[in-house]
Symmetry: C2
Subunit: 312 residues, 2 copies
């Protein structure tokens, strides 16, 4: 799925759709690129796939070497209209923006351990992020990731299963505005990285999973065959190596060598809703959510009980 | 498609989707029904099929016998959320509405005749309505209806076809707020109704047409077989009797006995966009728009050249 360096890098930032990755760079870097050409403001056409007059928003990064000009997102439809009008002559647009940046305030990652029965000091992380972008309610981004991660611990307790290694639930704070929780976790656990056996994160909604992505040494792939064999029965038996990384919050752990995993979703509908007002609970299919809970649980349990250490 | 009196009545008001018709009564009459039960305001769940956080708006009719309480539409998603919260306890909602009703102002139907070669005093109307509901741009409701109606006259001129009866293009003004243009036209032409051979209106978007609806004497149906035979080649060969009426603006003519016609659309997507901010030009499929132009032209020409008068 990711065949070149650019795609791998974009994938490493947590985005699983190549088309989206190719489009979202205009949102992230468009303002500075336009400013370098003399623009006094920039309106960015929505990068998502929806055609429902929804502004699709998200992070923008101002470059150091360009003026910081006002920037806003507009819907696909309004972008088309402006493009049409511009072909007929000058288009004048009045932009009223009222953004504010508040000082940082204390917040916290939320962590819960289900202690391992044999190697309690070795950790398999199951995770998502607590915060959401502001237009929608964050049902897909990333309440479902939090939900399926909590589900792992719940299932172990319900079924009376005692994994050999510790399974650690982490709800990272502040992914959207700078990956702060994920970075802080990796920093605080820096002396303890070798005890992080694996990290899993779900942060691309909760549609039908095809299997999982893996960032780590290719030599580790054969170790996952027994896990994939179990997941195959629910149509989630594929494993895809994605060396650049698999999800945003666990990215800092991946870079420190922790074998990293993420569900491989069918993302055809995800970018219709993500970072729009329409990211609401009704978009979550309960059956597919349950499929993801099962995938996360099987994957986490399989890793927690692996006989050998993973090559890293 | 319309098997009972209720559905026929709703169809007569110009709505071609049974599910929509059944739902939209809550928007039209919900405020008064709630007021009779003591409500002080009403929020109506969107009647359209979209799940993209779009408020679906439209006409509301206050009954004479109930207090006129504030009323607003909310999205499907917000309706679901309020329903969920209400099951847990009292939900308090602050509603800020700023509607204004301005005095009536002069406006005009736009009419153009392509004179008939043999019976110029007999008229076949091709029509749509000029105005649109305010959230979207009215591409589907009803710019496409205007477009395909104008296309009829354009095609006749381009192809050098001279219909025997006059083909009259009518762009009705103010359909959305009380059907004023349609009513006025029928009123002004009251002495001339017998010269109105037929009336066609397109007012349900421009998706693939399956054929056409007909409101009039069932004995007239065999007269349309040659027309349907031509339309069959583009998959639009069906004719459906719909005695209550086929479209809003020509409804007053239908009631005076003018044989009335409307394209029979595949409306699966229409109510996702209609009366929402997403009713924009990109929703119009050029190929399907052309199919409707062809249907309107074939139907109008066939009627304008019919040998016999239609039973009425």
């Amino acid at each position: 799925m990711y065949n070149n360096k650019f795609d791998r890098e974009m994938a490493a930032s947590g985005f699983g759709s190549q088309a989206y990755s190719n489009a979202v760079q205009f949102r992230g870097g468009g303002a500075s690129a336009a400013a370098r050409l003399g623009a006094i403001a920039v309106l960015v056409r929505s990068a998502g796939g929806s055609q429902n007059r929804l502004p699709h928003t998200g992070a923008l990064r101002y470059a150091e070497d360009a003026p910081k000009i006002p920037a806003a997102t507009i819907t696909f439809e309004d972008g088309e209209l402006i493009d049409y009008l511009a072909k007929m002559g000058t288009v004048k647009i009045k932009i009223v923006l009222t953004p504010q940046t508040f000082p940082d305030a204390p917040s916290h990652n939320v962590i819960a351990d289900l202690k391992g029965s044999e190697k309690p000091d070795e950790v398999v992380i199951v995770s998502g992020h607590l915060d959401s972008w502001d237009l929608g309610t964050g049902a897909l981004d990333d309440a479902t990731g939090i939900g399926v991660s909590m589900q792992v611990l719940y299932l172990m307790k319900e079924l009376g299963i005692k994994p050999k290694r510790t399974i650690r639930f982490v709800a990272y704070m502040n992914e959207e505005n700078g990956l702060v929780g994920g970075r802080k976790y990796a920093e605080e656990e820096d002396q303890n990285i070798s005890k992080h056996f694996a990290a899993i994160e779900s942060d691309l909604g909760a549609s039908h999973p095809l299997g999982f992505y893996f960032a780590g040494k290719p030599e580790a792939l054969p170790y996952f065959l027994p896990i994939s064999r179990i997941l195959r029965s629910q149509g989630a038996g594929l494993v895809q190596l994605q060396p650049g990384g698999v999800a945003a919050d666990i990215g800092p752990l991946t870079q420190k060598g922790v074998p990293s995993f993420a569900p491989w979703f069918d993302t055809r509908t995800y970018f219709n809703y993500h970072h729009t007002p329409a990211d609401t609970l009704d978009k979550v299919n309960p059956k597919e959510l349950a499929e993801n809970g099962a995938l996360m649980a099987v994957l986490a349990y399989g890793l927690a009980n692996l006989e050998q250490p993973l090559p890293r």
